[in-house]
């Protein structure tokens, strides 16, 4: 098998997303690599169209269109988002499309969440991963990795998997949502933010992507990647507050979510059924999106009457999501020693510098206040 080369074209599936777009900017603008963005709809081109690029529109679960989109590429970076079911399906389709199109290496953006948001001390890539996590997303990422391991046994495509943790940077939800929560007075933390934050600035991740695509020995491996520093959530959240003119006092002591497994909605359960999946192959994507949006818009049961409440009541502490609860209880900095050893990964962007740049972007994006 040949080694992936920087002189050929690299496809980025999901190039309009936060990570995909940053990867495109880093690889194309900075490294001069010929990059082919692959997006699922024309509307995803809005930001990509700032550059004249040889883009393709292809569904990440549509084998025929994805294969066509990948032809002529030697590397495929998979950064597309999806719900748990889509994540699993995308792994299979991505591998098969790469194989059919002659792509030599697939860089699969997995997640540190395959180890759980609160991994046991000592966890690293050698720790077994399982699909019994409380979060369906984690389980989907695990199953996707398992599918890729199984598929790549045929040797047609080299697969390198990256497991980033909390990816932050310009456009990241960790920046925008935190700022929005602080402004809305609904920001909260557990134990004053003393939990470990397995952060990684997006440019460090792009650096890891570059290495995973080019280092011959990366094939067949999964790599945890993160920032160089050991960071706690307070290190991350407090500078955002300070930047907005707020302080630690603006974080309430949050109510943690109950540690119970996410329950699928009846609609999600239906979508996992064999009947639905068989039928789904014959239903246009537009119709599927319509059904999904109708299902999600279905009215929730009425809450208790809220008329007899104090306005702006502060009696309800912010309730963290299950994901945030687990993340903020984390006590283990996932090591990236394996990435350092095999890929030569050394994160180029210091955490503080990355956070400052992210906040500078926030100012830029929000414009006049």
């Amino acid at each position: 098998m040949k080694t992936a080369s920087q002189s050929s074209t690299w496809a980025i599936i999901g190039a309009s997303g936060f990570i995909g777009l940053r990867a495109l900017e880093g690889l194309h603008d900075r490294d001069g690599i010929a990059v082919r963005p692959v997006v699922r709809a024309a509307s995803s081109l809005a930001v990509l169209a700032r550059r004249r690029l040889d883009w393709r529109i292809a569904g990440p679960r549509d084998l025929a269109s994805l294969t066509g989109a990948l032809r002529g590429c030697s590397v495929c970076i998979h950064a597309a988002l999806g719900d748990p079911l889509q994540i699993e399906q995308m792994a299979t389709v991505a591998y098969q499309a790469c194989a059919a199109a002659g792509v030599r290496r697939l860089v699969w953006l997995s997640s540190a969440s395959v180890h759980g948001q609160n991994p046991a001390p000592g966890t690293d890539e050698s720790s077994p991963i399982h699909d019994r996590h409380l979060l369906a997303y984690n389980n989907a990422k695990v199953r996707a990795e398992h599918r890729l391991e199984k598929l790549s046994a045929d040797g047609r495509v080299e697969v390198a998997r990256l497991r980033p943790g909390v990816v932050f940077g310009p456009r990241s939800r960790w920046i925008t949502d935190t700022a929005a929560d602080l402004r809305a007075g609904r920001a909260g933390w557990l134990d004053e933010g003393r939990g470990v934050c397995n952060s990684i600035h997006v440019d460090n991740l792009v650096h890891a992507i570059r290495l995973a695509a080019t280092v011959p020995a990366a094939a067949g491996h999964a790599f945890v990647v993160g920032d160089a520093e050991s960071v706690i959530w307070r290190d991350f959240l407090l500078p955002v507050a300070t930047h907005l003119g707020l302080s630690a006092n603006d974080f309430a002591i949050a109510a943690p979510a109950a540690l119970v497994a996410e329950r699928e909605t009846p609609f999600a359960a239906l979508t996992r059924s064999r009947l639905y999946q068989n039928l789904g192959e014959h239903v246009p994507d537009r119709a599927k999106r319509l059904v999904k949006s109708l299902a999600s818009a279905w009215p929730a049961p009425a809450l208790a009457p809220g008329a007899w409440r104090l306005p702006r009541s502060s009696s309800n502490a912010p309730r963290l999501t299950l994901e945030h609860t687990l993340l903020q209880r984390c006590a283990w900095k996932l090591p990236h020693a394996k990435a350092a050893r095999i890929l030569g990964y050394t994160p180029p962007v210091p955490f503080a510098e990355g956070l400052a740049a992210s906040l500078a972007w926030l100012d830029f994006a929000e414009g006049p206040r």
Binding site: A41, A42, S43, A46, R50, R51, T176, F364, A365
Partner: protein, 343 residues
């Protein structure tokens, strides 16, 4: 308004704007006997056929076929590069034209369209329907009459992650659509600014296009009245989607596309009035009046106005030349653009 007889029309272009806006609007107008939809035109069968069925109209692959039906009005909702030729063909066939924004691919083409309309004595209306929104009409009155004192400055932020269901990537190909967010949503705002404040006396412009189409744009302008305006547009990230007007004695917030709503913060009053705009109350005890036009109703109002203008042989509320001038400002912005930093 009830026209003497329904205005016969054809709809050219069966993309997202036709499906999402013109289809329901035209069905409503036909229900009221204001229009008779003769045909829809689009080279793509998959776009043309469902719209033809929904509107009960003939499906034509080419404009020429539809013009043989002698429509009184041709509604053009195609990529801007096609507008000029289609409008000129419509005028030559004796039809009036309502053309979606931007009026053309260039100000030169837009001027040519306006000249063709004048030469043939046909009506050309620009699809700047946001002028029909009650909130925008109210703002024009507040600015002109200085109800709260003179306008000091305005900050307008609009946009969000792009979600328009574009059927093809022509929207992002410079050859088909010669501008990004400024030409797309910005041309509406520039048209409104000209309508409210006249032509700017000075302005600077910056965007983030590299060798393609901009996703973020910034315009800072001053006007003859002394008012300054900051405009921020994005297809990239969520914005507040609000226009803020600071008058001498009040601040008015107008949420984007909240057609019949305004928020007033009056000096000396420690609260904000979030108002639904309604038909005026008489100066005597009376029940609440009807709410003014919503966003879809403002879109319908433009079509009603164009139909009435045809019947009454008058100019439409937003004549083509206004669309040409908004487009000229867009082009002037591009000509003097500086580059926004990419973070």
């Amino acid at each position: 308004m009830r026209a003497a007889s329904p205005v016969t029309l054809v709809l050219v272009g069966c993309g997202a704007v036709s499906r999402l806006f013109y289809q329901p609007a035209l069905l409503e107008l036909r229900r009221h006997g204001l229009v008779n939809i003769l045909a829809v035109v689009d080279p793509r069968a998959e776009a043309r056929a469902p719209l033809a069925v929904a509107l009960g109209a003939a499906a034509c692959t080419k404009l020429d076929e539809a013009l043989e039906l002698r429509p009184e009005l041709v509604v053009i909702a195609t990529p801007p590069a096609l507008h000029r030729a289609q409008a000129e063909a419509a005028f030559a066939a004796g039809g009036a034209v309502l053309c979606e924004k931007p009026l053309a691919a260039s100000a030169t083409d837009a001027d040519a369209m306006a000249a063709a309309a004048a030469r043939t004595g046909r009506l050309l209306a620009a699809g700047h329907y946001k002028r029909f929104m009650p909130a925008h009409r109210a703002l024009k009155t507040l600015i002109e009459r200085e109800t709260f004192g003179p306008l000091l400055d305005a900050t307008l932020v609009e946009g969000g992650k792009f979600s328009w269901p574009a059927a093809t990537d022509s929207f992002f190909q410079r050859e088909q659509t010669p501008g990004g967010v400024l030409l797309d949503i910005g041309v509406h705002v520039l048209d409104l600014l000209r309508w409210w404040l006249g032509d700017p006396t000075n302005y600077t412009y910056a965007d983030d296009a590299l060798d393609g189409l901009e996703a973020n744009a910034r315009l800072d302008a001053t006007f003859a009245s002394g008012a300054s305006v900051r405009l921020r547009l994005s297809r990239d990230w969520r914005t507040e989607n609000v226009y803020v007007f600071r008058f001498a004695r009040a601040t008015v917030h107008s949420r984007v596309n909240a057609s019949n709503q305004l928020e007033f913060t009056l000096d000396g009053l420690p609260m904000t009035l979030a108002a639904e705009l309604r038909e005026p109350l008489p100066g005597r005890p009376a029940p609440p009046t009807r709410a003014l036009d919503t966003n879809p109703q403002a879109f319908i109002a433009q079509l009603v106005d164009v139909c009435a203008a045809i019947r009454e042989n008058r100019a439409p509320f937003v004549p083509g030349i206004e669309g040409a001038q908004a487009l000229r400002w867009v082009e002037a912005c591009y000509a003097r653009r500086t580059t926004l930093p990419i973070h």
